[in-house]
């Protein structure tokens, strides 16, 4: 009988402990790979959210905070900025385009963004990809809205659907603005960024819902326009004529005397964010390495204790003509087999988990996980687990190699 087949049969004979070992290895593999995936994909979804934007300007705060609330819609703005300051910055000759953003409202759990049509023209994500419409067109009128792909999918909206916008971020029945129904005029194509989860309105519409609805029938046009003229916005993005000018405009904005403003360069802020994230990452990686060590020790324990039960087995094998190296191979192949099974199970669990959790993670945290093939690093991690499994097998193997003959043949009562 082939020695590997023998090892397989022997494992099957002790299936309960073997299965436990496989599970321990599987869980450690799962943890190791999941941490790696979260690390890589979280960063990728952050990095892909904004592109080709030179400066982001908001009320004075830290650059990471400004980046998080203006682009990723994480956390809340420190303050709004005056419409006049925005107009003042736009007068600078180096500005090519700008996107105003007004935050703070929501629609059934999705953030509402007040902006203008330049958002659809200039906002870019990924590798300088512009926004595209799945259907419809940008909003033009006051009570028109453009929704992200995920909003449309989850709430089942179509072009022409009427929606009601609430004031504030928590959207409960009591604070919905009943008088302001908005008509969906456009649905954006999926981007994998927070844009998918946003409801876009014009800045005037934001003023209108805060004014408690506008009754255009009895208000004369001029007064209406004055009323709906935006007084403040939350932040704005700037594209410059030349990227070299970023510094001088940033300096001008940061030293603007009329209002304390902060201008940040998204690239620097992102790198700073990664610097902070890497601490948490390393901690997680450390933990998963220790879980792997624990799994390997558990396997070693199992193998060693099974040797006690299998003294006879070994002795009989030796008596039947098995050489010490056969016994040695038997145990090494058992350890490798258990590790391999553990890895296969762990990887399957990982994919199951991603499949189950991806929609939730995407909806709650804006992190996008794809069921992509194993990456280079992930294969390396798997190889690391397999190699350590084989190495662990050496300890009981050497043990059995030494004792196999002596042990079972001497009768001890």
């Amino acid at each position: 009988m082939n020695i590997y087949k023998l090892s397989y049969k022997s494992v099957i004979n002790r299936r309960t402990t073997a299965m436990l070992t496989v599970f321990t290895v599987a869980i450690s593999v799962l943890l190791l790979l999941a941490v790696e995936r979260v690390r890589v994909q979280a960063k990728a979804s952050f990095a892909n959210t904004i592109s080709n934007t030179d400066l982001i300007v908001g009320a004075r705060s830290g650059q990471i905070n400004l980046l998080l609330y203006s682009v990723f819609r994480i956390g809340n703005p420190t303050n709004n900025i005056d419409w006049k300051s925005y107009q003042q910055v736009l007068k600078d000759p180096s500005v090519r385009w700008s996107i105003p953003i007004s935050l703070g409202d929501s629609h059934r759990g999705f953030r509402v963004i007040g902006t203008n049509q330049d958002f659809f023209r200039y906002y870019q994500y990924g590798r300088k990809q512009p926004l595209t419409f799945n259907s419809g067109k940008p909003f033009a009128g006051l009570y028109e809205t453009v929704i992200g792909a995920q909003v449309a999918k989850e709430l089942g909206y179509q072009l022409g659907s009427e929606i009601i916008i609430a004031h504030g971020i928590s959207d409960k029945k009591f604070n919905r603005h009943k008088n302001s129904p908005f008509i969906v005029t456009g649905i954006l194509a999926p981007t994998g960024t927070p844009v998918d989860k946003s409801v876009h309105l014009s800045l005037s519409a934001i003023e209108a819902i805060h004014a408690g609805g506008v009754h255009s029938a009895n208000a004369d046009q001029k007064a209406l326009q004055k009323q709906l003229q935006p007084k403040q916005i939350t932040a704005f993005m700037l594209g410059l004529k030349s990227r070299v000018q970023s510094f001088s405009l940033q300096r001008k904005i940061n030293t603007y005397r009329a209002e304390p403003l902060s201008a940040i360069m998204p690239g620097i802020a992102l790198h700073e964010l990664w610097g902070i994230m890497s601490i948490a990452e390393q901690a997680l990686q450390g933990v998963s390495i220790f879980v792997l060590v624990a799994a390997m020790l558990a396997m070693l324990g199992n193998l060693l204790s099974s040797l006690q039960e299998r003294r006879r087995e070994m002795a009989i094998l030796r008596a039947m003509g098995a050489r010490p190296r056969h016994v040695f191979t038997l145990l090494i192949s058992e350890a490798s087999l258990l590790t391999s099974l553990g890895i296969i199970l762990g990887v399957s669990l990982l994919y199951l988990l991603i499949g189950a959790m991806a929609p939730i993670l995407s909806a709650q945290y804006g992190l996008n996980f794809q069921l992509s093939a194993l990456s280079h690093t992930e294969w390396l991690l798997i190889a690391l687990v397999q190699i350590s499994g084989v190495c662990i097998g050496f300890i009981p193997a050497i043990n059995a190699y030494r004792n196999s003959l002596v042990d079972g043949m001497t009768i001890r009562i």
Partner: protein, 162 residues
């Protein structure tokens, strides 16, 4: 191993090409005419008495040396990432000093190089000093504004050593 050898051979073959690059300092990027104006201004400033205010702002800076246009140069500077992810950066600004942030005036236009890498480069640390080798373009005018500045098509980066 074979792959590595091929890479090494390829690298060695490319070496003569790199020999054409000229290493420049940041001062070399300032045109000589501008340099003499600045020197004169500083000399005047220093000759003033302590209780006198300087009469004028420093002369406008930022002209570029058009004679550098198209040359392959090597320059060391701080990296400010613009586009790309954590591993690969495709666009960056190279500046002569750290901290072009809040308390210091920004570098003049001719002291910033806008570098593009077609395939991206890896960057270890934010605010790393590295050597960038690439083909320099000195733009004197742009159709949108009277804009001057250096841009560069990056070829490779090298680690900076003191």
């Amino acid at each position: 191993m074979k792959k590595f050898m091929t890479l090494l051979c390829g690298f060695l073959l490319c070496l003569p090409l790199y020999a054409q690059e000229t290493e420049l300092s940041w001062e070399d990027l300032i045109p000589i005419s501008e340099k003499s104006i600045i020197d004169a201004w500083f000399a005047k400033q220093n000759s003033l008495d302590a209780d006198q205010f300087s009469e004028q702002e420093p002369p406008p800076q930022g002209a570029v040396r058009t004679d550098l246009n198209g040359q392959v140069i090597k320059i060391a500077g701080f990296v400010i990432p613009l586009e790309g992810d954590e591993e690969q950066i495709t666009e960056l600004l190279l500046v002569p000093y750290f901290g072009a942030c809040f308390h210091v005036p920004p570098p003049p236009q001719n002291q910033i190089v806008y570098v593009k890498f077609a395939d991206g480069v890896a960057l270890k640390e934010l605010w790393d000093v590295i050597y960038v080798v690439g083909t320099l373009t000195a733009e004197t005018t742009s159709h949108e504004v009277a804009q001057v500045g250096y841009s560069m098509q990056g070829i490779r980066t090298e680690e900076y050593s003191e």
